[in-house]
Symmetry: C2
Subunit: 363 residues, 2 copies
């Protein structure tokens, strides 16, 4: 086993830090997985070893997410951005309308892609508030009889997160790329969720889609196979050669979450992790301003600023000198952002909180 001393604290918003036991296992398996004499990237996707890897990934995903049987679990490609197009292609029939909740850059992109393909109604526009919070149900103005309502559960750029669910008369589709499996999911409140892997689940290049089976059955048959959820579901994510390494690594992350006590334990730890950082920011409010409004503060991404560009730069430089990387805020918002997904260590959050205190006292 390698010691962890050659690795630094990686606050990247995604691709993001992965659990070290998962990486250790991958180092073995990329050379020779399950003592097959063949590495995980080199096995036929229809052979017995990958059969097991895929079946375990699906079963462990179901166990982690406590996903009811009426939902199918799919592994796709193309990131959340491909989902922005596939959702309307599959679920927005001609003449119908979809409600979109705009809480930031990523939901605007989802909206823009959907507008190429059908009628979009903006049920909530957060731009005037600079996307500083997630709307309550009564802030929405939904079009009636919409095919679906689309929203995003956690906005990485602004550090805002829903701590409630939204409802509508149609289907509910949610982009959970940045907080999936960081806490329990109320499956009654969703018909389909999707998540790019590279934040809470694994490497970039794989997307997890979880959707009601009866919804998948409504996908139009005229679509190209790779853009038809139902065609892929019928083939158990093996309509063509799937992204085998990504599925394997996500499977290892699922096993790691289970070994750590599951999503409830993740949520408790994530709450402790974020709290110690928010507390340090608030205790030094003369130095730091948190971007997100109270009530919408994310446990995954903490966006803040020292209110001075020069001071922000100094902060990033001093943090880097202490082995803390990836803290620069998104180019659309500026400032500082600490992304602390499931795999980010609690000890690292404590170290960061101490650094916040020290920096505020000395500047």
């Amino acid at each position: 086993m390698t010691t962890t001393t050659d690795r630094i604290l990686n606050f990247s918003a995604g691709p993001a830090t992965l659990p070290e036991p998962v990486l250790e296992q991958a180092r073995t398996d990329i050379w020779n997985v399950r003592e097959s004499g063949i590495g995980i990237c080199e096995h036929s996707h229809r052979g017995p070893v990958f059969d097991e890897v895929l079946a375990e990934a699906v079963a462990d995903c179901r166990a982690v997410g406590q996903i009811p049987e009426e939902f199918d679990i799919l592994f796709l490609q193309g990131g959340a951005t491909m989902q922005f197009a596939m959702v309307p292609m599959n679920f927005l029939p001609e003449g119908a309308t979809a409600n979109y909740v705009n809480t930031g850059v990523w939901t605007s992109k989802a909206q823009k892609e959907a507008m190429k393909l059908g009628n979009v109604h903006v049920a909530y526009e957060g731009e005037a508030d600079k996307f500083d919070h997630c709307p309550k149900q009564d802030e929405l103005e939904c079009a009636p009889d919409a095919a679906y309502l689309h929203y995003c559960s956690n906005n990485t750029i602004y550090g805002t997160q829903f701590n409630h669910t939204l409802s509508d008369s149609g289907r509910i589709v949610c982009d959970m790329s940045s907080d999936i499996f960081s806490k329990p999911i109320d499956w009654n409140a969703f018909d389909m969720i999707y998540a790019g892997a590279q934040k809470n689940l694994g490497p970039s290049g794989t997307v997890l889609v979880i959707a009601r089976k009866d919804m998948l059955e409504t996908c139009p048959t005229h679509l190209p196979s790779m853009l038809n959820y139902n065609a892929i579901a019928k083939k158990g994510s093996r309509l063509n050669t799937p992204p085998a390494f990504g599925i394997y690594l996500m499977g290892q992350v699922f096993k790691w979450i289970l070994s750590e006590g599951g999503v409830t334990a993740m949520h408790e730890r994530n709450t402790r992790k974020a709290s110690c950082i928010y507390e340090a920011l608030e205790a030094n409010s003369h130095c730091y301003t948190i971007f997100a409004k109270e009530g919408s503060r994310s446990l995954m991404n903490i966006s803040f600023t020292t209110n001075e560009d020069v001071k922000n730069e100094m902060f990033l430089k001093e943090a880097a000198s202490q082995g803390m990387s990836g803290l620069k805020g998104h180019r659309d918002l500026g400032g500082i952002r600490a992304s602390i997904y499931n795999a980010f260590p609690e000890e690292g959050c404590k170290r960061f909180a101490e650094f916040l205190n020290t920096f505020a006292q000395s500047h």
Copy 2:
């Protein structure tokens, strides 16, 4: 360094064996790449480390393929199957026709996807000959003024390979998934080529697309971003989070090809590798029948049969007992198939040729 003794001979048609020096490097880099303290799957796709990885992958790809400047190099997702749809979406305008050359299962699938999206003319249909060869130019009956002609340079299932190029009045699009960079490419004969990574290039989940820049400029703007080659080209394959590990590993494979002497050296070695197997098969023609006709025999996939199902089974079982895996023929053809892409060792081909002799003599 790990010894190679715990790995077996992997004849899988794809995902397929990768160069061992590449896997060794990946075992380091998945934990901590370029001494950054962060693994290759965990780096921001917009950070300086991945900037380098991507820039080197593009430059090394250009060097390996001797790709002229008028071509763009793109890394996409979704396998060749997504390309089957993206090619007509981007390059088959309404009312236009595309010529398709059908040399097997994969080209029929490409045809079928294109037929959902526009007019397809089958310029060659190989089914009557059971796809036992690749047609010469004069076997084609092309529709005039077609937007493009689509063909596949190597057919993995039947073990057939073009050793000439095809021409037409429109653009030429070629699926090179199973023989890319196994030999030099005459770029005058192509406008766009694509290849799923999992045979000659790297792990599944990444697709290499090489296309003329002036062709990319004709992509229709109404397409969803992730389905628009030009939108992705403009962003240098980073329209969204790309499949970072796949691009990294392909980059390592490119470096390996260069270190081995480039595609000309690959071609010489691949010729020696395939020849020793074909010679053993022909020397024992009482026992084996090669599927592909002379003149179309692939250097990448060698499909043959003992002409008896029971004997084929025995062959596979005895081969497995000697550490030779992945030799079962595709379900559509049956029999035996040895896939010996670039990374498959020459020594392994010699061992297999010996096994062919021994088996034929003893059965």
